[in-house]
């Protein structure tokens, strides 16, 4: 059986490019298949990138990073024009930057090409089958064969689906909808917003160099039965938070929402799975992270590929072992408790409402002053909430 390369990477996004760079450095021959005309042409993120994993891999002095995030604003909307907000500022922070993927991924792919990685663009993998000690990929440009496939095709995980290893479920996915607005702010801001139309999810605003990225991430199963249509939510959201300016682009993309305990199959014979395709996403209510996990899991995959080639293409378990030792799995594990909580309706509608009512009454002066405790207990009763559950949730969330 002749193979086209030691490793074929499916998907030229963050995970795929990182895997390809690393495997090339390990001395393997690598081909990347990307369905877009260029890397990034199909990709969407909020987005703020925590750059630790990227910095470790390539020189970022000429990276198209938009703005360094120096201010975090957290807002809870609770209906009837009421909201709670707080902000945190640190001018010395250098851990995260806003990015726009069409530009960023192209730059990153160019870095890979400079190191000798071969990309085949406009190449859509439409099926995969096992054949004689490897995997055969069917594409619009003919078949490609490899003894090892690194799956980096994002949240829809085509390769795993074609091989019968994955069934996508609405409960394990979020839909992200986004607009890029032609308004510039002069500082790096990340705004996190919760409490929108009772949907399970949250909103974001990130400031780029000359534009703003605004959008929502919402659980697909909460949309299926919702009053509002997904096509309208980002505009309603924009009006709610009062952002104005010309819309430059409207985009949408699924987001994996598995969580540590529900992660899909990460490897099989001749196959290792990275990034969104592997379900690596962390959302703990304050931060959403997928990009750094995609880059790191790609790096681990590139290193594992070398060991797999030297040993045995059928046994890919070393990849999972190496992942367990990386921050990818460590952080996924840590985030699991708060992650699982964010699937509950009470977090998005009931608690914010109670909080707002209590605070509202505390700030209101009408001659009927009561203690915070009295207020809280009464509102909890009114909303039919369970105090024990609330305390447990809080512990789980912080814990």
């Amino acid at each position: 059986m002749s193979f086209d390369a030691d490793v074929v990477v499916v998907g030229g996004g963050l995970a795929g490019i990182s895997a390809a760079i690393t495997a090339t450095r390990e001395g393997l021959s690598v081909i990347v298949l990307e369905r877009g005309d260029y890397s990034g042409s199909k990709n969407v993120a909020g987005g703020r990138m925590y750059i630790h994993a990227l910095k470790d891999l390539v020189d970022i002095s000429d990276a198209p990073l938009e703005r360094k995030v120096e201010r975090e604003i957290y807002e809870v909307y609770c209906g009837n024009g009421r909201k709670i907000s707080f902000s945190y500022e640190d001018k010395n922070r250098v851990d995260s930057y806003t990015v726009l993927r069409a530009k960023f991924d192209q730059w990153f792919a160019k870095k890979a090409e400079e190191e000798g990685v071969l990309f085949s663009y406009s190449t859509l993998v439409s099926n995969a089958r096992r054949e004689k000690g490897g995997i055969t990929l069917e594409t619009n440009r003919g078949e490609v064969r490899a003894p090892l496939v690194i799956e980096a095709d994002g949240v829809t995980a085509g390769i795993s689906r074609y091989l019968g290893l994955r069934n996508l479920k609405p409960s394990m996915l979020m839909l992200g909808v986004k607009e890029v607005i032609g308004t510039a702010w002069d500082e790096g801001v990340a705004r996190t917003i919760i409490g929108f139309e009772g949907l399970k999810g949250g909103g974001f605003v990130y400031s780029n160099r000359d534009t703003l990225s605004i959008g929502l991430t919402v659980k697909v199963d909460s949309l299926q039965g919702s009053e509002v249509k997904a096509q309208d939510i980002v505009e309603k959201f924009r009006e709610m938070i009062g952002i104005e300016g010309p819309i430059l682009e409207y985009s949408a993309h699924l987001i994996p929402y598995y969580g540590y305990a529900n992660l899909p199959q990460l490897n099989a014979e001749n196959l290792i799975v990275t990034g969104d395709a592997a379900g690596f996403l962390i959302n703990d209510g304050f931060t959403i992270r997928g990009m750094d996990l995609a880059i790191e899991s790609g790096k681990v995959a590139g290193k594992a590929a070398k060991l797999i080639k030297d040993e045995n293409y059928a046994d890919t378990s070393i990849y999972v072992k190496m992942l367990e030792e990386s921050f990818v799995m460590r952080d996924m594990k840590k985030a699991w408790k708060s992650f699982s909580l964010l699937g509950e309706k009470r977090i998005f509608s009931d608690y914010p409402k109670v909080l707002c009512e209590v605070l509202g009454d505390m700030f209101l002066v009408n001659g009927e002053r009561r203690t915070l405790r009295e207020e809280l207990m009464e509102k909890i009763k009114e909303e039919n909430l369970n105090l024990t559950q609330m305390v447990l949730d809080l512990v789980r969330f912080i814990g």
Binding site: R35, G36, D37, G40, S41, K42, N43, V44, A45, L100, R101, A102, K103, F104, D105, S122, L124, S126, N140, G154, V155, T156, G158, L168, K169, P170, L173, L175, G176, V177, E179, V180, T211, S213, V220, L223, Q224, G225, S226, V228, K229, A230, Q231, D232, V234, E235, K236, E239, I247, L248, E249, Y250, S251, A252, H253, L254
Partner: protein, 89 residues
């Protein structure tokens, strides 16, 4: 609120000659709540009295939601060969 079609018209598309989305409208004719219409951010699915459902595949943002949007197995989705090219992303 800026209208959906206006927003989609800001995007750059290379529309395939053939639709990348197949729908079994026999099933749609019996489907009352039409969850696909709620879930799709591009308004690709339009309820229709006569045919059950019309698919505007040229609007597709390739988010992937179509793979799970229909609980009744009426939708078959693959990515298009051309399709959207994001300029910001």
């Amino acid at each position: 609120m800026v209208d959906l079609i206006k927003r989609l018209s800001l995007n750059k598309y290379t529309v395939d000659k053939e639709s990348h989305i197949q729908v079994n409208t026999q099933i749609c004719k019996t489907c009352k709540d039409k969850p696909c219409v709620k879930v799709c951010p591009a308004g690709t699915y339009e309820p229709d009295e006569k045919d059950g459902l019309i698919v505007h595949y040229e609007r597709c943002l390739e988010c992937g939601a179509a793979l799970v949007a229909c609980p009744y197995g009426a939708l078959k989705f693959r990515f298009p060969y051309g399709g959207i090219s994001y300029r910001y992303g």
